[in-house]
Symmetry: C2
């Protein structure tokens, strides 16, 4: 029989893997740890949970403090609870992954010194098990993105087909058959073509598209471009 008085208490923190996407690829936000253990090392953005907030509220607050944005797509990822995952005090870490449309990101001044976006293929060494948390997040995103229109949370509201192609290729780290993608996109009807063009890439330009919110249930049609193993990996 367990009574509260017999039980131990634990520190409880949130750690967030915040992804963004630009023409160079995927990035994640890291912050430099200002206290021991791991002082001056890079870590995922995170913080302790306070008495007067849920973990979700704490995670939202962390993301807001770094981006001045409180409408960021976020999902609970996994709780890391192993003994000895921090060097001084046992701390439970509840992790989240989050996706931001980089165009909406505004870094507040007071955080500039200690936070930085890093390309996902050029990361510094991360503290404790944060590299493992990142791997979990990457796997979860592939799993979700194979089935749901999740990656559009990383694109601006209007985007070119080339941006969409490249995003999927970066996330899954494979070359897709682009004609197949285009056929699936047409079949699924999840995109609406806009009259405007992006002229930055070529003289002829490329039409912008936006998401067709009413047809998102057809995403599966498009999501099937992703090889089966990503549908099954988690």
């Amino acid at each position: 029989m367990s009574f509260y008085s017999d039980q131990k208490k634990f520190f409880f923190a949130v750690d967030c893997v915040l992804f963004s996407y630009n023409d160079c690829g995927l990035n994640i936000l890291l912050s430099k740890r200002m206290y021991e253990p791991f002082k001056d090392k890079w870590s995922l953005v995170g913080g302790f949970v306070n008495e007067n907030e849920s973990a979700e509220e704490a995670a939202k607050q962390v993301l807001k403090s770094f981006t001045a944005n409180d409408n960021i797509y976020m999902e609970q990822l996994y709780a890391f609870t192993d003994i000895g995952r921090e060097t001084t005090q046992r701390t439970i870490s509840l992790t989240y992954f989050a996706l931001i449309k980089i165009q909406e990101y505004k870094q507040p001044v007071e955080k500039e010194d200690c936070a930085k976006w890093f390309p996902i293929d050029k990361l510094p060494e991360l503290i404790a098990e944060h590299a493992k948390i990142l791997e979990f997040a990457k796997e979860r995103i592939k799993y979700r993105a194979a089935k749901q229109p999740l990656l559009f949370e990383l694109l601006p509201d209007k985007f070119t087909i080339l941006q969409l192609h490249t995003l999927y290729e970066k996330v899954f780290n494979i070359q897709f058959d682009r004609r197949n993608i285009d056929r699936k996109l047409k079949q699924s009807n999840i995109l609406v073509k806009l009259p405007e063009k992006d002229k930055a890439g070529s003289r002829r330009g490329a039409f912008y598209f936006k998401l067709n919110e009413k047809e998102l249930n057809n995403f599966n049609e498009f999501g099937n471009i992703v090889p089966l193993k990503y549908h099954l990996s988690m």
Copy 2:
């Protein structure tokens, strides 16, 4: 800047939704709470996490204490962290769902008085937010079972096609087109027909099948019997 000394600590518990399946349908294991708050009310099986164990070890220990079985399929489900989710002391609950082949279940004597299997459609009132946790578990299982051969964790090692049909129908609460299922099963090659028959159901009997571990990657072929909405629900 956050230092350990400024931070609050929290109680940390695990709660497990343990499912089993028999000819009458799906069941979950509940235990009668022996202490306040909620004394004598039914709850999911769970317990506090100790200093010397991870949450996963704690959850395994809970399942073992009720079933005398330490090889039960288990997945981390979700952390519930809201303020005020328990009436006296703030407690973080990390939840797991677990699936047991009921044939392997042996209830240890000392737990008999305070734990009981309940049919999932005839549950007593559950404490705190345990009904919500159960709903989460049911949704997660549908999501997983639409894509992966998860539900075989609830079947005995050899089973009839009728048992398999009925299990899927109970979990998804819909009538499947059984001829379609049989065709998909054949295409996917995920089952091996055994020479033995189950003669309990009819004089002619029904052949037993077992899982073809080498062909499990073909599960998707069979899993597509599940309507799209369950592929997209979480």
